[in-house]
Subunit: 381 residues, 2 copies
């Protein structure tokens, strides 16, 4: 455990995005853990809570906690409102779950049970709990309603722009709307749909990604959306040099995610943490084996099994996760551990030490400033 | 066709690599075309000729031409000396070809013939010409001998470091040795093998690539090889903002390739050029369908067919190219054009205009300087 040092004494890092949100550093930190969100915002960046796994009631409690611990600093909430998923027209959340459960083929259930048995994972003793999560319109909309009752500064939407009425509602509350985009065409569409801030995310990122790298993507998106739209660079950013590169590519700030999985404050599962700390940048893979859409994960026996010849293939979102939801906690606590996987980007190769979140922020800024100083030496000759 | 403007009036861009080679800009340009190599070196960068496709006699003529047209500026040669390939122990080049030809399965030949017929490609009327190319030790070594008789400044080696005696020979001639690496471990091994300059190439690059992105790879390699080794950033670099990002990540210069396929001076096949100009960054794929090792190409009916259910799979290097060598010129001049593909990186999405090579160099520098100026505005506040 490192001692959390004082904030670095650096020159100001001032972009449109720090001015807009009144934050010190243009560093956005996506996390499912409220402690991380509050810690990053307190350290001068901006924490963004991923709402995906929470019921509206739970989300209310999380945000109340953040409000009490964020010291008045701004923070955001991230919801998932995919434009396309199985069951968009199948009624409310409860109805939807019932209908989709019935659509999961027996072959898939059998493949999963065999896989779990092979790896010594304990049998299921209780019925699967929440399986739909917040990645349908039906389940994300109540999250938005809760979020907008709190003093959030940003509502971000993964997997496409939020529906027009949701963007409008956010704007009525004085809340900026962010959208993740993995190509320039989608970025333009999001701006047309009312998104204020494009989070351009390269293929090296953890979680849902496209296939274009951050290096190629950022200038394309910056040029595509025009000067009036703020762009954050995401994917492969976990060190100050990468932050400098993201801004050099034309972004106004950086959006980070993976690096907060290994901070002191994180609630990363006990069996996943050592794997994350040990992994190299080559140990990830884009796979549909978790959500049904391509997302980057640790490469494990889990991702390999779903790609193997025996695999029945992937189910569409949200059915793939519904199928595996009950297995994940069992994998986390029993069996040989080989199936334990986790969404993470290629930056995992640099995540070798557990540090306080504030320290990660300060380290980013210190290396960023060193990088800029070096560039000036190079360019001035 | 643009008018080739005067060199940009910019502040100096001075790094260890410009000092070492006495060049104006830390921009390396890989090309199989001598005209491009000479043009980039004359414009203040450093052209590097890919020797792969040339016999020793042809290479002699190409280098003689460059010597006469490069205006005394430094240039380099790139050879391919893979550490692992089929037939490394099968005697000299002629013997090797005979033996490997006999090892190509009939199933693969039949799959190829069917594919060509489906796309209306004319039947073969002459026996395949050169099929082995310079990607074996047996065929690359004579290229090295020729190259070292010319005033080259750099001998680069793709697919792993050159054998120790080759590196030593280059050093005896006062020639620096470069090695392409796609991960930090390989980079370290190359330095141990006598490589002076590591070209760290991300997955977004054209041609043979690994799977780690440039954004993640460069800091890893810079830290792994230590302060005494020069690192060039490669993969996804075709604009000034990307050059700035590459240097921000810690590199001493940038290595570019794809962007020289669409310059005035390039000899890119007539049917491939419009495809390159029209492609977006999403239109490439890593495939073994050309050389047997994963390399990035335009995504076409060719790359898709080899991934389809009917595909017999790929042959190991150099047999896959031996199989297809005779088909490539036929595809280039006949049939429906859908099989026409080409090695290129994701930067292809930014290659939308044919320009003189010198103009590409100057545009890179101008945008680079703009990017550095913007970073300074941001950081000084």
């Amino acid at each position: 455990m490192q001692f959390c040092s004082d904030p670095p004494r650096v020159e100001t890092v001032r972009t449109r995005v720090t001015e807009q949100f009144g934050i010190e550093y243009p560093i956005f930190a996506f996390s499912h853990c409220r402690d991380v969100v509050a810690a990053v915002s307190r350290a001068g960046g901006m924490g963004v809570l991923g709402a995906l796994y929470f019921t509206p009631e739970e989300l209310e409690l999380e945000l109340k906690w953040i409000d009490e611990h964020v010291g008045g600093k701004p923070y955001g909430v991230d919801v998932v409102m995919p434009a396309k998923y199985e069951g968009a027209d199948l009624g409310d959340a409860e109805e939807l779950v019932g209908k989709l459960q019935g659509m999961i083929p027996a072959e898939h259930r059998q493949f999963l049970e065999n896989l779990l048995e092979e790896h010594g994972v304990e049998p299921s003793t209780e019925s699967a709990g929440r399986v739909l999560l917040g990645w349908t319109d039906q389940t994300a909309r109540p999250q938005v309603e809760i979020a907008l009752k709190h003093p959030i500064a940003l509502l971000a939407s993964a997997l496409g722009p939020p529906p027009a009425d949701v963007a409008e509602l956010a704007h009525q509350h004085g809340v900026k709307v962010g959208g993740l985009a993995s190509n320039a065409r989608h970025a333009r569409k999001q701006v047309e749909a009312g998104v204020d801030i494009i989070i351009a995310q390269g293929t090296e990122a953890g979680g849902h990604t496209g296939d274009v790298s951050t290096m190629v993507l950022i200038p394309e998106v910056v040029d595509a959306v025009g000067e009036d739209t703020i762009v954050l660079a995401a994917g492969g950013i976990g060190r100050g040099r990468q932050m400098a590169a993201g801004l050099a590519l034309g972004a106004d700030g950086v959006w980070t995610g993976s690096i907060w999985l290994t901070v002191d404050e994180a609630d990363t599962p006990e069996r996943a943490l050592p794997k994350l700390l040990a992994a190299t940048s080559r140990d990830t893979v884009r796979s549909r084996a978790w959500t049904g859409k391509p997302a980057r994960f640790l490469k494990t026996a889990w991702t390999e099994a779903w790609e193997s010849e025996k695999s029945p293939g992937y189910l569409p979102m949200p059915m793939q996760f519904m199928l595996i939801a009950d297995a994940l906690p069992r994998i986390a606590r029993s069996g040989d551990g080989e199936l334990v996987t986790f969404p993470v980007g290629q930056i995992v190769g640099s995540m070798n030490q557990v540090k306080p979140a504030a320290q990660v922020v300060y380290d980013l800024i210190e290396e960023y400033v060193e990088s800029i100083e070096r560039l000036n030496t190079i360019t001035e000759g």
